[in-house]
Subunit: 182 residues, 2 copies
């Protein structure tokens, strides 16, 4: 990621101008997510602040699952098959299924999953004309949504969870400080 253009919502290499603006925002979002998690240990990634919590690892797996789902929804213009849904469900749904299945992974595992998913997204963006972003289909509550909104949703969901990751880290550090004092 080019840090010199990180704060510019503008033309990026090999992308249409409209895609460039979207990807500029996706890039900054991802940069801040990675900054928040890149030094965490497996134990920290698995930390649950209470028995109903989502761990930071679960939230990172969620980001990749959401992006994979929106690749299908927008690039293939269809809903997920039952098989695709069952594969993505622990990450998509979070909660007890995620708590059971998403743990014990290093930060590299999550970051590689995120990078591989993002690579597919960007490669596909490069093949599409800017007008594609403004194509509308019926969406939530049968209201119209365009593809720009659907990809905005992918990064706005990431930002929301990045905020949660920062909060969970704050609780985690407090928990560790109390443990080492006690």
């Amino acid at each position: 990621m080019d840090l010199d253009t990180l704060y510019l919502i503008d033309q990026k290499d090999d992308l249409g101008l409209e895609f460039s603006k979207l990807v500029s925002m996706m890039n900054y979002t991802r940069y801040t997510t990675i900054e928040a998690v890149k030094t965490l240990t497996i134990e920290e990634l698995d930390f649950l602040y209470d028995e109903e919590a989502n761990s930071i690892g679960m939230l990172l797996a969620h980001l990749a699952a959401v992006e994979k789902a929106y690749q299908i929804i927008t690039f293939e213009n269809r809903d997920l098959t039952e098989e695709e849904l069952s594969i993505l469900l622990p990450g998509l749904d979070l909660g007890s299924l995620g708590r059971e299945q998403i743990k014990g992974n290093s930060i590299d595992f999550y970051l590689e999953q995120l990078a591989a998913t993002r690579k597919t997204t960007i490669e596909t963006f490069k093949t599409l004309p800017d007008e594609w972003l403004y194509v509308q289909t019926p969406f939530w509550w049968n209201r119209p949504a365009n593809n720009f909104f659907k990809w905005f949703h992918v990064f706005e969901d990431e930002l929301s969870h990045r905020g949660q990751i920062r909060l969970i880290k704050k609780m985690l550090l407090k928990h560790k400080a109390e443990k080492s004092q006690g």
Copy 2:
């Protein structure tokens, strides 16, 4: 807010096309923030999950303070004066100063503060040409940022805190359920 165009990043009334896309994202963000908080009581808005926490009320005051700061930074193209900073500081900085000063307010207080601040933003956007969004100045770490990025930052910060608000609400409801059982 027009719910029929909530999922469209596209032309909005009385705004240039580039401002329209930005405002489309700001609108959706604000809609989801309001949905998360609109029924909370004063006690719930003041809830602190631990002694270092930010309450939901503090986070809402923070959103308005950040937006007011960016009005000055971008519309007047200058830093905040010491007086402006001292007024906005409890909301901007959060932490102990915010915990001391921001409490006891109803949801209407916070929502009115947010709406009044947003009104100024949109009224000013309407007077500016789309090109303004792409004007660059040196910014964090002296790297260039354009005005689109600075306003993206305003809503990406809101999304991050909206995620935290949802998490704090989850802890708050658990806390209340345990209290009523105990």
